[in-house]
Assembly symmetry: C2
Homo-oligomer: 372 residues x 2
Amino acid sequence: MVFQGDGNHDGIVSMESRRATIKDVAEAAGVGVATVSRVLSGGSASPETRERVLAVAAHLDYRPSALGRNLRQRRTGGMGLFVPDLTDTFYGQLAEGVLACARSAGEPVVLGSTGDDPEQEAELVGMLLEQSVDRVIAVPSGGAETWAPAIKAGMTVVFADRLPSDAPFDTPSDRDSVSRGVSDLMLLDGLPPASRGRPLEVPAVLADDRAGIRTAVRYLRGLGHRRIAFLGGPGHGRRVAAFREAVGAPVDEDLVVFATGSRDSAYAAASGLFQSRPDLTAVVTGGNVLGEAAVLAARELDLRVPRDVSLVMYDDVPWAELCSPPLTVIAQPGRDIGYRAAELVLRAGSRRPRSVLLPTELIVRGSCGPRH
Amino acid sequence: MVFQGDGNHDGIVSMESRRATIKDVAEAAGVGVATVSRVLSGGSASPETRERVLAVAAHLDYRPSALGRNLRQRRTGGMGLFVPDLTDTFYGQLAEGVLACARSAGEPVVLGSTGDDPEQEAELVGMLLEQSVDRVIAVPSGGAETWAPAIKAGMTVVFADRLPSDAPFDTPSDRDSVSRGVSDLMLLDGLPPASRGRPLEVPAVLADDRAGIRTAVRYLRGLGHRRIAFLGGPGHGRRVAAFREAVGAPVDEDLVVFATGSRDSAYAAASGLFQSRPDLTAVVTGGNVLGEAAVLAARELDLRVPRDVSLVMYDDVPWAELCSPPLTVIAQPGRDIGYRAAELVLRAGSRRPRSVLLPTELIVRGSCGPRH
DNA sequence: CACTTGCATGGATACGTTTTCAAGCATCTC
DNA sequence: GAGATGCTTGAAAACGTATCCATGCAAGTG
């Protein structure tokens, strides 16, 4: 296969085909660079000038260099996106949502995978700072101490899917708290001038974990289950809190177990749970990786789903339907979460950003049955 | 939760805490900016000067601005990464590999999702050009016509997972072709000065599709299957070619069917295949999304796997093991593909990039049985 | 000593843009 | 007609860095 030239069939090949700059356009159009800049960025200009500049620009195939603009405005466009693990389908969905919004705005997005490690997350924040990218949507791994520097530096950050680990997630009224703009996330010191004097809120786009978990627990209780376990991972704080609340009364602490982010750890946690508490009859997992681990561990231990153990997994992923039995899940709109977060981070400044709580849905398939 | 300041507890809050520039460092250290620049980028300087500059830089918490550097060097660091769909676990793995390599090199990566649409891909290339990002690793959706402009503009591109759609993928010796550096991908015209006179090769990092498919087909034939179908999607050209070659003789054209990138289309194709050719006994799918569709369609049509139909899926994804029966797969090292591609794109220039062919592996689980 | 060589150093320039500012000009108002 | 008003325009000044070049100084060479 041969890549053809683009139609530049001059006898002499123009070797140094430097990209045209605004200066070239200005000279060719017989105007000043300022005028070109104005025309191209929608400023005022006389109709004839505008037309001439536009024509020349098109003819020279001029594309403004983001480098010059960025330096001038001391900020790089676009936004950062931090997710824990792109191998987790849910974060793939979230990322697709962000990308969709960013594309429609013509903005680039620089990606970082944190591996649920606050240290890596802090490093990535540093990289954004160096690049002068001042907007980021993050599924936070670390707590306030990793995000305070970013906010102090004037970054616009929007949290997605979860809040920093040390944010209060067990407030009585999750919905209220969130609709107030995650007002607990406040920066009272070292604010940029604009927001001086009032607390800075970091907006967040979250799924209504509390409602999702509550619905799932009620569903399981309705099936007769009493010994219900929760299998969680990093960032599932709000979910486990909702679980405790939904179960009510004192919850059996052996029945809530946590894994780290890795699949191995998830499997170990699931397997350990099943072995240490063979009397449990149902499990709710805080994410799809945990759900995967639970299915695997159950199979390994010859526990039948749903006969021996009922299973509800957080996250609706395409493969949930492939399991047998197909998994009953708490669906959250991953793509929407990403899209809305990107909208928020882009609109920040013009509109006062308000946090968003998106609905979840219990999708009943075949992994839950009556207590046996 | 309150974000604390970072220890700047002066009575007077320094509102305008502009980030320190190289000029600030130079003044504070009593040297010229040129010296600071040299020290920081490893140039020569006297030991005492070096130490002083370093100390001052650390004290001022100076971080060089990528903006200034980029403009000066007329290129943005980092690399672009284009994948068709992050919802596809395989591309999630690939992206994780790229990110891992990029992180260890301290380089940012800007992400694009093409949706297997050449048009969107071309737009994204345009965005990179505008950002002066001159390196990209791509899972190409379009053909030469979408990549020629990028290469003409001097970008370093590395293909991953597949080649542009109009690249010859049915050469007799895939291995040879690839190890020669995908020499079919040549640009004979409009080269940057450095490579003038010799063809420009676009390196690629691919899995050994041919071997993978061949192994799978042989395995199925060994089980007695004769009517084997292939279910492919965008970018599976090399795989279907390998399939034809492995099946040998004239292949029944009704048995190779293609879907577009969407899950709906995949399901429709799978369902259509099963219904139009109830006599087939085995299916090989070109990717995991197609595999998912095949399982779903088979279940919907009451075809039992592997009793009624045997199934081999390309891509080993975590959920392959969750299916029942667990899916027999052709595993390709997604993460490695990404990592190697990132290495290539970063090393380009110093080393002459050579393409890479990574091994595949047939992982036999439970979705294939003897012909019935 | 005269001359070259080598190295550390800093001033100046350029990278491509946006934005400020003042000037030029035409039109409107009293 | 004089002044005010509004619009278009271009020169110039940043933005933060890397690098070219000239300078100064010390050491080496004849």
